[in-house]
Amino acid sequence: MSMQISRPARRSGGFRKLWRPKEKIPQALAVVLGSSAFALVLLAWSVLTYGGFVPPLFLPSPTEVIVSGYRAFTQFGLWNDIAASVYRVSAGWFLAALLGVPLGILMGSLRVVAAFIEPLIGFIRYMPASAFIPLLILWVGIDDSEKIAVIFIGTFFQLVIMIADVAKNVPKDLLESSYTLGARPGQVLWRILLPASLPGIVDTLRITLGWAWTYLVVAELVAAASGLGHMIMDAQRYLRTANIIVGIVIIGLLGMVLDLFFKMLHRGLFPWMSREGKG
């Protein structure tokens, strides 16, 4: 009697494995890849500018941008612009979250609330926030509250819908098992729906904060005397292209730091999620 012994399958090459969908990759490789994307952009930028392929009016070189950035901080009070913008974005976003999170949870868990308010919110959320600016100037004037209102409008309606979705996706099984343990509807809201939604809420807050930043420049278009958006518009008026880039890069950096902060918050608050290695 002969027996065939099959050879163990050869391990597939490391490189090919990287292209398998959803396959994990080493942490070090992820860092290298992420940094090299930045490096590539920087390289292309350097070649174009130092090589003299593009006039500085359209695209100043990295050196010019760094110098402009330095001068903006030391001579033109860029810190004040940053502070003003951070204040406006945080205030608008915070107000949106303050009202939107409870409303979203109620909308996602109580059908009566959803039936009442969902059509209205679905209607308003497609209206561009920038189109409200003339109205807002009439209603609240041209000071900080107008800018905060633009950011609020841009964020609030999306946020409510997303939070409602998070609450809607809490498994019904969890609610039912809490009922059989004696929970009353109020307790279910507080002890099941809220903790079960919390990771999704933090994620939504992270995403909507990003959107709030994108409304900043629009908000600071009109009658602003400070802020990163104002600084960018000002730079455009005087053709200080390097300053435009400084403003954009700073907004990007602020966003990245905040994103990182929320990711750490997520990890710190929800240790029960990460252990299985999946969301």
Partner: protein, 260 residues
């Protein structure tokens, strides 16, 4: 013995697109105080619906449910339930999951930890008190779910195929473990399953359900002594019961298969 749980003329008709579907036909039965009753039926026969109606999670189209001499029509802590799906609260530790019902009742942390630890000991997971559900295997999760239901001290324990998602070996161990825990409290248990051996091994009495629309077809007493041991599964009485129930359930399974 007086009936602890009484189901009287309960039926359930679901509204569907084309025509209403009868999930459960006029069903009546009772379980005595401290009795372990299993309901055996083919899949989709409405046995889960029956259990959900008793738990108060679903409204019956007709009939009534009684716990002792009290009619019930909404969920309550008097009827604990263990589901087939994993329903532990993922954000709570194992200990806090077990103490959840007690917390709703407002008992203090030391009190509910003491009770939770007692049951944790019983299900053999004492060292997992601080673990989160995501760190447990399927069998462990269901043990904690059983402990969670028992720690709440319900009058009746409802179990909806609690071991249905487990592999055959784990399943047998879990049956023995559940009986061990049950021996201590002798709660009234209503246990739904589609597994013939499980139905016999666990029960004092087995009800057999027909394929959809579900209806109780037969009632069979299990004369095996308690406490049960797995060796009893090879006794002639067991084999005899198994044959009888197999015959009954086979007809229904065929009907269920052809009805779809």
């Amino acid at each position: 013995m007086s009936a602890k749980l009484r189901v009287e003329g309960v039926s359930k008709v679901f509204a569907a697109k084309r025509q209403p579907v009868t999930a459960l036909e006029d069903t009546s039965f009772s379980a005595a105080e401290g009795e372990f009753v299993t309901i055996l039926g083919p899949s989709g026969c409405g046995k889960s619906t029956l259990l959900r109606i008793i738990a108060g999670l679903e409204e019956p189209s007709s009939g009534s449910i009684w716990i002792g001499d009290r009619p019930v029509n909404e969920p309550g802590a008097d009827r604990g339930m263990v589901f087939q799906s994993y329903t532990l609260f993922p954000w709570l530790s194992v200990l806090d999951n077990i103490g959840f019902g007690l917390r709703l009742k407002g008992s203090s942390r030391p009190e509910r930890d003491r009770i939770a630890r007692h049951y944790l000991e019983k299900i053999g997971l004492a060292e997992f008190a601080r673990a989160y559900p995501s760190e447990l295997s399927g069998g462990m999760k269901q043990r904690v779910a059983i402990a969670r239901a028992l720690a709440n001290d319900p009058e009746v324990l409802l179990m909806d195929e609690p071991f249905g998602a487990l592999d055959a070996q784990t399943r047998m161990l879990m049956q023995e473990l559940l009986l061990q825990v049950w021996e201590e409290s002798h709660k009234t248990v209503l246990f739904v399953t589609h597994d013939v051996e499980e139905a016999i091994f666990m029960a004092d009495r087995v009800y057999v359900m027909t394929a959809r629309p579900g209806r109780l077809k037969a009632e069979i007493n299990v004369p095996l002594p308690r406490p049960r041991t797995y060796e009893m599964k090879s006794e002639p009485v067991f084999a005899q019961l198994k044959k009888t129930l197999m015959d009954l359930i086979r007809q229904e399974s065929w009907r269920a298969l052809n009805a779809i």
